[in-house]
Amino acid sequence: MATTNPNPPLTPAVFHILLALSSGERHGYGIMKQVEVDSQGKVNMGTGTLYGSLKRMLDAGLVKESDKRVDPEMDDERRIYYQITGVGTKALAAELERYKRIVTLAQERKLLPKTFAYDL
């Protein structure tokens, strides 16, 4: 009998958004900038992808809107901030655990370049 995975694999966009929100509440532009920093400029998310993912994450309870206003420099009464929820934190942890297992497997099969392998 098939069982439902409580933490199914995340899409790259959802993963990066959760990772960005794990360090604090952010508005849309703030999330984009954090994703850029976290991925060392390799992931460039557009507004369509960001808000499409945010909508599905809000529906799934991975993130929620926050009342806080944490960016006084850019603040605007209407600006919506997002924060990660408990469900979101668990989903992120499960995804990182999956990544960890893949890296371990890659190490065992000697697929990683030596410089990386020694760091891990």
Binding site: H27, G28, Y29, M32, G46, T47, G48, T49, L50, Y51, G52, L54, K55, M74, D76, R78, R79, I80
Partner: protein, 186 residues
């Protein structure tokens, strides 16, 4: 070449109006704000690559609009709501035809011809019909229903879908040189 930021922002706002209503009401304003933030950042740091940035944002958002409408009409929340489905089909089709309209307007601006309204109406209507016929089938498959229950109906729907796709593809191939600005094309 200077691109007026105000015009770009207005056009982006108009583009956002094509999102499904629920999505637009919930996130439209935030998207507009984020787009403005990105525009301001671009202007602060560099003028270079402005056109590429704007084009990427518009294309990326247009893909998002198609995706949201696609989800809306295939997820069954609006089962039976033909009006919403037709509207989504109309918007998806419009976004598909929009690049061709732009090509026509840009590449044939010096030919002093009228805008081919009939051609573009057909190019727009065919995908609308395609989506409207396809969606109930997709919904039935997603719901786990047996779509072969009525083989004649299924056969008819598939034949019509193939015909529509063939006509649309044929029209596009036939008219592409005109959209690209080839003189004396018909």
């Amino acid at each position: 070449m200077t691109y007026d930021q105000k015009t770009v922002r207005t056009l982006y706002k108009k583009l956002l109006a094509l999102y499904p209503r629920g999505f637009r009401e919930r996130l439209g304003e935030s998207m507009e704000q984020t787009f403005n933030d990105l525009c301001n950042e671009r202007k602060r740091h560099t003028e270079r690559g402005w056109f590429g940035f704007v084009l990427w944002m518009f294309v990326e958002t247009a893909i998002g609009i198609i995706k949201e409408h696609g989800l809306l009409i295939t997820q069954g929340n609006n089962m039976g709501n033909i009006l919403i489905n037709s509207r989504s089909a109309a918007i998806i089709s419009f976004i598909l035809v929009l690049p061709l309209m732009i090509l026509e307007l840009v590449n044939r601006r010096n030919f002093h011809e009228g805008f081919p309204i009939a051609l573009f109406s057909l190019l727009w209507l065919l995908p609308v019909a395609f989506i409207v016929i396809l969606v109930p089938m997709v919904r039935n498959i997603r719901a786990g229903n047996n779509i072969i229950e009525n083989p004649f109906k299924l056969f008819l729907a598939v034949v019509i879908l193939v015909l529509i796709a063939w006509m649309w593809g044929g029209l596009l191939i036939d008219q592409l040189p005109c959209f690209m600005g080839v003189p004396n094309c018909d």
